[in-house]
Subunit: 227 residues, 2 copies
DNA sequence: GACGTCCTTGACGCAACCCTGATGCCCCGC
DNA sequence: GCGGGGCATCAGGGTTGCGTCAAGGACGTC
């Protein structure tokens, strides 16, 4: 199900959006200020963000920048301001679309669909979602790990971590990047999380967890997944 | 250079767009009807398409569908029609954005930039900068060094040093600059650090560490990396 | 309300890394 | 020939970072 984060300080607009979105089977979160928006985005990882620029606590453009610091989630800006400069500023800060109030709900939903569609994995279908190693098989799309003819159960956090590492197979992923992608942008120094969860992944996937062949530590820098 | 395909049957609009785009260093193709547009898109593979819906030979939505049959190139629709239905139809056919005439050139360009930015290779892309020498291979992005068919492990400080040197391949890098870039701005005279770490890099990477071919000392000045 | 799962947090031993000082070499100037 | 400065190399010690284990707490389920 597609998850939408709605950010607006006018209750009636939020209400209208939430009702319409839920009726169309979207999974909806709502925030009424920038801080909550950033927090929710980090916690819930929405597939698209609908953002009103006129927020009580911070400039909408700052919210855009805050999001763009760590995610490429589509951002659809909603604003009462028609000026060209406002639009340019928001778009160049990283917004994907800009709709002026008052807006037609049909149009907004169409633009939302367009934004979500764009962000979908490449339609070519040529990328291998399945990664095989000597010891186990990872299917990123199906969220399944197979080992010794059995499915391995992973917790959400373990999945998230594995996902980031596998998508960067062979490359070093910095500890800060890992923390931010898995735990959210406000993390970056809690390397003990990484230690604990890397240990769990190794215990579940490595043949000899204390001598890992696939989940490799680069001391002081980060971790690397090797097939 | 980014290539734009402009499709519009009104010469003055096409002209204005082409001039503005070329002034901003875009590579521009132009078509005045749908058939030419589809043909040019196939031949030139533009990075983004600006498409007027009111074409003489075919419905604009048909052009969108024709493009979407084989490419995900961003399509920015331009139209004189303000009706909500038109917008929804175009967006759902596969357009990425919809701008109504008359439009501000600044806004259009900003939306164009946003569309192009979105289409850029995803973070998980495989665009790695690899530097090769006679004895070893350095992949700066993946933080990998390959030598004699084996991966060489480097410590963070060694990496940092190698990074600065490789980025200045062939150029002399002063001792002070090296110290400040690797150890921080408050350093500048601790040349013994450099000696120790250059020795380690040579030991790990040079065929004959005591007669370096790639990490060259310039006495009294600094060091130089040669491929 | 009891249970289980998952995330967080702290403590401990151990290994890796960074800094430092000592020694010897080479090149250059005196 | 002699002395000195800059460089290469090596080895030791302090510090940091990592792996591991275990306990506490939040959350959802039955």
């Amino acid at each position: 199900m597609t998850r939408v984060l709605v950010v607006d300080d006018e209750p009636q607009i939020t209400r209208a959006l939430v009702i319409n979105l839920k009726a169309r089977k979207y999974d909806v979160d709502a925030a009424s200020d920038g801080a909550t928006a950033l927090q929710l985005a980090a916690a819930r990882h929405p597939d698209v963000v609908v953002l009103d620029l006129g927020l009580p606590d911070m400039d909408g453009v700052e919210v855009i920048k805050g999001l763009r610091g760590w995610t490429r989630v589509p951002i659809l800006v909603l604003s009462a301001r028609h000026s060209s400069d406002e639009k340019v500023e928001a778009l160049d800060a990283g917004a994907d679309d800009y709709v002026t109030k008052p807006f037609g709900m049909d149009e907004l939903l169409a633009r939302l669909r367009a934004a979500v569609r764009r962000a979908e994995p490449t339609g070519g279908g040529e990328d291998d979602v399945i990664v095989e190693t000597a010891g186990f098989t990872v299917d990123l799309a199906a969220k399944k790990v197979h080992r010794d003819g059995r499915d391995v159960r992973l917790t959400p956090t373990e999945w998230h971590l594995l996902d980031v590492l596998v998508r960067n197979t062979g490359r070093l992923v910095g500890q800060k990047q890992l923390l931010q992608e898995v735990w959210g942008p406000s993390y970056g120094t809690e390397t003990n999380y990484l230690r604990v969860y890397m240990a769990q992944l190794r215990r579940k996937l490595e043949v000899d967890p204390s001598h890992p062949k696939h989940f490799i530590t680069e001391p002081g820098m980060g971790y690397r997944f090797e097939r």
